[in-house]
Symmetry: C2
Subunit: 271 residues, 2 copies
Amino acid sequence: MKQPIGILDSGVGGLTVVKEAMRQLPHESLIYIGDNARCPYGPRTNEEILTYTTQLVDYLLKFNIKMLVIACNTATAVTAKVLQERLDIPVIGVIKPGALAANRKTVSGKVGLIATETTVRSHFYEHFLWQKNAHLEVTSLACPSFVNLVESHEYHSPLAKQVVKKQLQPMIDQQVDTLILGCTHFPIISDIIQMTMGDGVTLIDSGKETISEVSYILSYENIEASNEENDTSYQFFTTGSAQMFDEIAAEWLEKPITTKHVSLNELEGDE
Amino acid sequence: MKQPIGILDSGVGGLTVVKEAMRQLPHESLIYIGDNARCPYGPRTNEEILTYTTQLVDYLLKFNIKMLVIACNTATAVTAKVLQERLDIPVIGVIKPGALAANRKTVSGKVGLIATETTVRSHFYEHFLWQKNAHLEVTSLACPSFVNLVESHEYHSPLAKQVVKKQLQPMIDQQVDTLILGCTHFPIISDIIQMTMGDGVTLIDSGKETISEVSYILSYENIEASNEENDTSYQFFTTGSAQMFDEIAAEWLEKPITTKHVSLNELEGDE
């Protein structure tokens, strides 16, 4: 099936999902929209998050997408159930794949979660972790400042290390053996997080894991792209600065891309 | 959903799937049948494999299973499509999960497959690998003698190392970075295989990976067991020696089990 997979995020964090999709599913076309103008979603009300996400979804649906990936943990926590009921295409969030991967990897059964406040408060990770295995010990910690580090493109600064170290102390004290990066922005600073937590802790990149579920569901629903055509296309949209998005994407995806700006007026007009 | 997951194999190899299910899905009940009396399936005709597998499936269906796992690569290669069309429950084979995991893990794009002759000849692994990524280089090698090593419980003998080393030489020459253990018997001798291939090669345990797909599909189809009840049950059947099955299973699962013998007459009468 030639139709693209639609991917949305509050900003650039969902590019971790895009990168993995490009690598594992090179025949699948992708359409991405990042809501950088209204990022971060973490501190917003559920109503705002649902409204904004619905606007992004409506924009993607115009491209006749065959599957929707909510590449933002906060948006997944608030909107995944609603969208799964509303849309007649598969809707994949990033929380379940991250939870399942943590359950697969943990040996001690002590799992940590770092995420935005909204994601932590939603208890969605615990829901999926305990659904599979009620014996897991789960420690959750909101780290909203990490999102700003990434979105402001400041993650190479010496300040970043200090911020991360201070925030993660409670997680180190809990001696988790597996830590879920429960925000698609966090893998961009995973080097710093790994260094802080130590080599004994397995980091779970929820975005990367999401491509496992995407891959299984594409073939379970029999909607995979043909591997015989060479017309894979990638399209990127942002409500923020196309130039800044291009810069971060080029560094992260290791290839140049051309992002188009979409105004909030245009998105809001879609409702 | 309380109903058990049915798992079948030509012998004990599918216990690698059981072990992983017990670990990752502790609330799911399992029913396993191993066709040890007619093992190995590898050298048999497709007609025989289909007949035998159908008998095992009919036996499992009497227990009202909610999902069928074909924990045998050879049986998956020959019967998965037929069974997916025939049954109205999800049918999960071990080949697709192994292929998807190899696609996820490979860096060089050079993937190796070791399996029985039937599995290699079916080109099912290549089908799933290339469906996801047509650029992968795949080398396949039939290693039927490995099955006998395991089924005869001889895998601790010095002979085992020699057999494995000699067989794998062509795979070492191809410089694959990822090697699919495309037979559920092979993980039982994975130490020897890893030593022979070297630390730089990632081994893919197709049985273990299968539980990832099982886990995703259970929740996608909304048929997971409740995590609130404590009545998980495990039942094991074999067409061969219950005592030998118990011994291998106890060693592999690290817990004692009691296997029941099922006669071939009983199975054949089910047709």
